[in-house]
Symmetry: C2
Subunit: 377 residues, 2 copies
């Protein structure tokens, strides 16, 4: 069973877009207590999710998350199974079943990249859809101005993706819906920037985020649902896709992904010791700011995104000479800089810099990029 172990030649820096680096202190604690959780003699992954020990872990995780984001009392915190893509089906199934305050079964979508596009395509199979805005024509290098968005008549919800990991485009702030939208719920996929900055939860109907960027190993999705939305589901929604059922069972209608949930709890606790989401935001701005400044100052490198919408989490960049991409990536890996290959749909490079990434990793990347430009420019 023993793995082949080699000491790494160099310090490693993990820029993977996801699954991604998690805070070192959290991973170390998880390793230390992996076989024996708090002296119980068994792993947190080997005990009933209904045991007093795991129940306490789960409840504490909800308290810590609630504190981090100042989640109002009329929201339910759900720990869903699987990835955020499940919620792309759950949103139309849960929110378009019954009209309320004049809203209908139409859902409005803002398309700013791969993930909002995927969500829209799935919603089209399950309900009526209106594309309120799309940046597809400009290759997802910006976000269309709110004044250009074309809403349907009182949509059930407006859906957008706060941070597109592939295009590297991020909303600077939540969009403001016009009064004509009535009780339209704002629905947001925050998978890749959740817990990276303060968040006005009260402006949303549904926020969701896969765990594998800023929280925990993949297989868990956190959702915040405003309680009044729990009653809008279609009658035939599969039971584990039914927000109301999950809320009624505190996310334990069946066995939840206990290890990821536990580790998310460790991450929430760690974030509180680090200064919370304000500190995460400051670090994210420092990390990404350094990298954008460097790219903008070197003709050898290029980022195509309009400056106000550049992501603090994912920085795609191109070489002036794409013929050097392979050499760049190979040399980067030799220098311990991992996960820099751009998404296959856009090519080039991408540096993802989630909460767990130390600033020293960005410094190492900049040093490497400067050296590479000097020797290949």
């Amino acid at each position: 069973m023993a793995a082949t172990r080699r000491e790494p030649q160099v310090t490693v820096h993990n820029f993977s877009a996801g699954p991604a680096i998690l805070p070192r202190a959290v991973m170390q604690q998880a390793q230390e207590e992996f076989l024996d959780w708090h002296g119980l003699g068994i792993s947190i992954a080997e005990m009933s999710h209904r045991s007093p020990a795991f129940t306490a872990v789960a409840e504490q995780s909800v308290r810590d998350l609630t504190a981090l984001l100042a989640i109002p009392e009329n929201y339910r915190v759900l720990f869903l199974q699987g990835g955020a893509s499940h919620v792309m089906s759950m949103a139309p199934l849960n929110l378009c079943g019954k009209t309320r305050g004049g809203t209908g079964d139409c859902a409005d979508y803002v398309i700013t990249g791969h993930w909002s596009q995927r969500a829209m395509t799935e919603a089209e199979r399950l309900t009526r859809v209106n594309i309120a805005a799309s940046a597809a024509e400009v290759n997802f290098t910006t976000i269309p101005p709110l004044t250009d968005w074309r809403f349907s008549a009182r949509p059930a919800y407006l859906y957008y993706c706060d941070n597109e990991t592939i295009a590297g485009v991020e909303f600077p702030a939540p969009p403001v819906l016009p009064d004509t939208c009535g009780e339209t719920a704002l629905v947001c996929d925050m998978t890749s920037n959740f817990l990276s900055r303060p968040l006005p939860v009260e402006r949303y109907g549904l926020i969701f985020a896969g765990a594998q960027k800023n929280m925990a190993p993949a297989g868990l999705t956190v959702a915040l649902v405003r309680e009044d939305l729990l009653d809008r589901a279609r009658a035939d929604v599969p039971f584990l896709y039914h927000f109301k059922l999950l809320a009624e069972h505190d996310s334990m209608f069946n066995t939840p992904p206990v290890f990821s949930w536990y580790l998310a709890g460790l991450t929430f606790a760690w974030m509180r010791t680090q200064g919370g989401v304000e500190a995460m935001d400051a670090r994210a701005r420092r990390r990404s700011g350094k990298l954008y400044e460097f790219i903008d100052g070197h003709e050898f490198y290029r980022n195509p995104v309009a400056k106000p919408y550049r992501s603090r989490m994912n920085v795609p960049f191109m070489l002036a000479d794409a013929g050097l991409d392979r050499a760049f990536l190979a040399a980067a890996e030799d220098n311990g800089l991992l996960g820099l290959k751009g998404h296959r749909s856009v090519g080039g490079m991408r540096a993802s810099m989630y909460n767990g990434l130390p600033e020293a990793s960005v410094d190492a990347l900049l040093e490497f990029m400067a050296d590479f430009a000097a020797s290949h420019g």
Copy 2:
């Protein structure tokens, strides 16, 4: 961040029904390489699921599972997200959409306990259902004889649960469908006895099992689907519930639960070194045989299940005097015997004995039970 660590006073034995004990060697390896997988300098949980490293892990896990169960070539091995309850919705959504060989949209269910009951209740919301047989009237203490089952006319599938964890009832062998069923697919929830004995996969249309008993931490479900069944889905099945889409993407349409998948792979590899499912079966029979023999030999204890259908995995037992239940459980815990409380729906005690449980744990349980009976009988 440091956890409060105490040395356990006594050797611990984990009889949890799930999440449950996993093989010690597997857990030790996972702990050892948790921060640094094979010298790459990052965790297996922190790298892209599309990286060469994780792809190799995933492919090896499929090869090992295929070897363990001699899975025929016309089956697809899927690693699904979340728990087995998801598949309770997926079965009707995927198998009742299109008729084939004269089958219709009706699904037949055999009710032998809580889990088949739950599956039937969910299926009723999504398609037509016929209850072919039920042991509810005898409180799930036996399995109705096949000759009494009443099939609908060519059902799309026949669903049963191979091992009911709460009642402690297990099918000794797969049921044989009569010729009149035509192309009816046999569908089986094997969550709690998967990989505990040899399995004639070729007799099934769909087999599925949540990971948290005999494979890995919760949050993963393994499914074996016969390929010809991939084309029977309803048009509006949510995309991550669509077996065909998942098969086309090798279970990576979106980010899979990488850590659980990796650990399941370690378990498969471990099982091969231990003699495979034949060895697991022999161990399970030895463990459960000892316990049943002890219970049957002591009037102080009682198991209500008809002998041919007693589970090798989960042994519920009652005290002659239920007033001693609390004292029994408290004393058991003091002696390091964990997870013995019966399900809240039936009370009493339950010893779950999955593949990872050493026989020495059963010996410790018997010694304790003998002592308790002697001092309280």
